[in-house]
């Protein structure tokens, strides 16, 4: 015989409950890297979440103090490793601001084009990975396929797929190859197909919408108080974008829109990122139309193109008169640039950028310039000072604060990591949601360990 109703009620109320501590440990299946979330659960609802980071701390800021200004470039690649060109560009522009130089216009266009391609790669990876965690493995494969096309494009220009080290203080390594426009168009056509397919698979998918809408909600005011920028902030409704509000390079001449969400949940962030990819492609296409022409024939009548190896052989036997007016034919991914493209991609400030090899081998001024920049104890030496330069990274405002003491190595390089601010708000985002909502929320944060922990 069952006990009377009020006695059952009393029995249930007397049962002792306790919160459960769940450790989503440093090694966990999300392809995002290693962080640790200690979630205090009441049933399935997260009461409190403590986030522990630092598992990928590699000492970027300390290493930057031990190498010279151009030597920091490979370290900056590995900060936000899914969009390395944006980091390169940010650091270079910070040092150029410290030096007080500007790079030629074509170089700025090239940097912008490659930054936007990097941004597309970053958003593809982010959306693909977070879709995969919600069960949509197909979308992940499609987006990585599109990313492969873009990486092949980047490889044509820089020589490396991912960790490119393409920018230099005062310019870039080499000009765009002559046949850049056609592969770029093809890669973008593939990307647009993939985006259309993924949109069809996800945006009105019942499961995806139910899991993403209403989870991980943050208001614009809260986001600003945590220092959040980028697509995460724009999903809440505030439209701060460094490219529009504090334009740098040639962004003020390029037409693009900044997508802004309304509700500040994961669905809005996903939509913002999808639209940003389209806008980035728009920027690149506009830049390719506006870009000033590239390499020039050094001497139209007497100069002729000469293979780089032949030029070096002539120089080493001392026959520099033989190639005085010629320009070396170089592979942009390997030897860099020759004299013909040098004025387009490098500042003419001699104390900062290496001379073209025809000058290094061909005349004494070029040789001296090369020595003064390469020999130990010399190198790029900005005046004493401190600057802060923000660029729009894929996650938000990526700022470089560089302090120089006049010597060949930076005195202090500080990276203002955009996802650090977002991760500091993560415990607030997760509190109140269910365990299963941790996955889409964490996916839309786009935590990149290299940037978070440096």
């Amino acid at each position: 015989m069952s006990p009377p109703a009020n006695e059952t009620h009393q029995a249930v109320a007397d049962v002792e409950t306790r919160d459960m501590l769940l450790n989503v440990g440093p090694a966990h299946p999300a392809m995002h890297g290693i962080i640790r979330i200690l979630a205090k659960l009441d049933g399935e609802r997260i009461q409190d979440a403590e986030v522990e980071i630092g598992y990928l701390h590699r000492g970027f800021e300390k290493m930057a103090e031990t190498v010279d200004y151009n030597g920091v470039m490979p370290y900056t690649d590995r900060l936000n490793y899914v969009s390395p060109l944006i980091n390169n560009m940010g650091y270079c522009m910070a040092v150029e601001k410290l030096l007080g130089i500007t790079v030629p216009e074509r170089c700025q266009y090239v940097r912008v084009i490659l930054s936007e391609i990097s941004r597309i790669c970053d958003h593809l990876t982010c959306v693909g990975a977070s879709a995969m965690e919600l069960g949509s493995f197909t979308v992940f494969l499609y987006m990585i396929k599109a990313r492969e096309f873009l990486w092949e494009l980047v490889e044509k220009v820089t020589g490396a797929r991912m960790t490119v080290s393409y920018c230099r203080v005062g310019g870039v390594k080499a000009d765009l190859p002559d046949d850049f426009a056609a592969p770029c168009k093809k890669a973008f056509a593939e990307t647009r197909t993939v985006l259309a397919e993924s949109d069809g698979l996800l945006t009105r998918n019942r499961i995806f919408v139910d899991r993403m809408s209403g989870t991980g909600v943050i208001s614009a005011a809260d986001a600003i108080s945590y220092g959040i920028t980028g697509p995460f902030l724009r999903g809440t409704g505030a439209d701060y974008d460094v490219r529009k509000d504090c334009p740098y390079a040639v962004y003020d001449r390029l037409p693009f829109d900044v997508p802004v969400g309304t509700r500040g949940d994961n669905m809005d962030r996903y939509l913002v990122r999808m639209e940003e990819m389209e806008q980035s492609m728009r920027i690149v296409e506009a830049a390719l139309r506006q870009i000033p022409p590239g390499p020039v024939q050094v001497h139209p009548e007497t100069g002729r193109p000469i293979p780089a190896a032949e030029m070096v052989d002539l120089a080493k036997v001392g026959n520099i008169a033989a190639f005085r007016d010629d320009s070396a034919v170089t592979c942009p991914t390997l030897e860099g640039s020759g004299r013909a493209s040098h004025p387009a991609i490098a500042t003419d400030e001699k104390r900062v950028f290496l001379p073209p090899k025809e000058d290094t081998y061909g005349n004494i001024e070029g040789l001296m310039q090369q020595f003064k920049l390469v020999m130990f104890g010399h190198g790029v030496r900005p005046p004493k000072g401190e600057v802060y330069f923000p660029v729009e990274g894929a996650n938000g405002e990526l700022g470089f604060y560089v302090v120089s003491d006049g010597s060949g190595s930076p005195y202090r390089v500080r990276v203002r990591p955009p996802c650090f601010a977002i991760m500091s708000a993560l415990s607030k985002l997760l509190t109140g949601d269910m365990i299963a909502d941790m996955i889409p929320t964490f996916g839309s944060v786009n935590m990149i360990g290299g940037e978070l922990d440096r």
């Binding site: 601001k97 130089i101 030496r381 005046p383 202090r412």
Partner: protein, 193 residues
């Protein structure tokens, strides 16, 4: 707001807090005494003309080794002046480290309404390496201050939970200080090198 009026508004309001200021390469930098940090930060956030709603960055610099490396003054002694572009103003050279104190805590602020930036620098001695925490005004300062504590050893009064964030708890020392050798390892498991 242009740089001059930014500096003026702070100086008018807090005349004895500001030690010095400069604009180098277009960045407005104000050097303050540490006691007035919290009220000036509140003023920056709440004053409608300044409206600095973003604490963009909070970091520190260890000036103990400044100028000690050989630096043949390429730009100064070569006789040729640096020619900055018209967009980057360059009226006067940088005055140097903010004071004789070892550390400087550097804050970067931004206003989305007026689109201006500001840098605040607080010189901090090694002996009394502490400043007020800004977590009451910007919750984002929480982790940034933990990182400054972890990397430099600068304490923050009023911080809810000041512990290491990037290094592990058993680590001893503060890695970004100039006297911490780059390669000095303190492994938890495995050999030391």
């Amino acid at each position: 707001m242009n740089p001059a009026s930014l500096i003026e508004s702070i100086q008018n309001r807090f005349p004895d807090a500001v030690s010095s200021f400069h604009t180098y390469r277009g960045d407005v930098t104000v050097i303050l005494r540490r006691e007035s940090l919290l009220e000036i930060a509140r003023f920056l956030k709440e004053d409608p003309a300044l409206a600095m709603n973003y604490l963009m960055d909070l970091t520190a610099v260890d000036y103990s080794a400044f100028g000690k490396r050989p630096a043949p003054a390429f730009f100064a002694s070569s006789g040729v002046t640096v020619r900055p572009s018209p967009q980057i103003p360059d009226e006067e050279p940088w005055p140097g480290p903010p004071s004789d104190a070892r550390f400087a805590v550097v804050y970067h602020f931004y206003s989305t309404a007026h689109k201006h930036r500001l840098r605040l620098v607080i010189p901090v001695d090694e002996a009394a390496a502490e400043v007020d925490s800004l977590t009451s005004l910007w919750p984002g300062a929480n982790w940034l201050e933990r990182e400054a504590w972890d990397m430099f050893g600068i304490g923050f009064r009023g911080h809810p939970d000041l512990k290491r964030i990037l290094m592990y708890q058993e680590f001893e020392g503060h890695p970004l200080r100039k006297d911490y050798p780059v390669k000095k390892r303190q492994p938890l498991i495995g050999p030391t090198n």
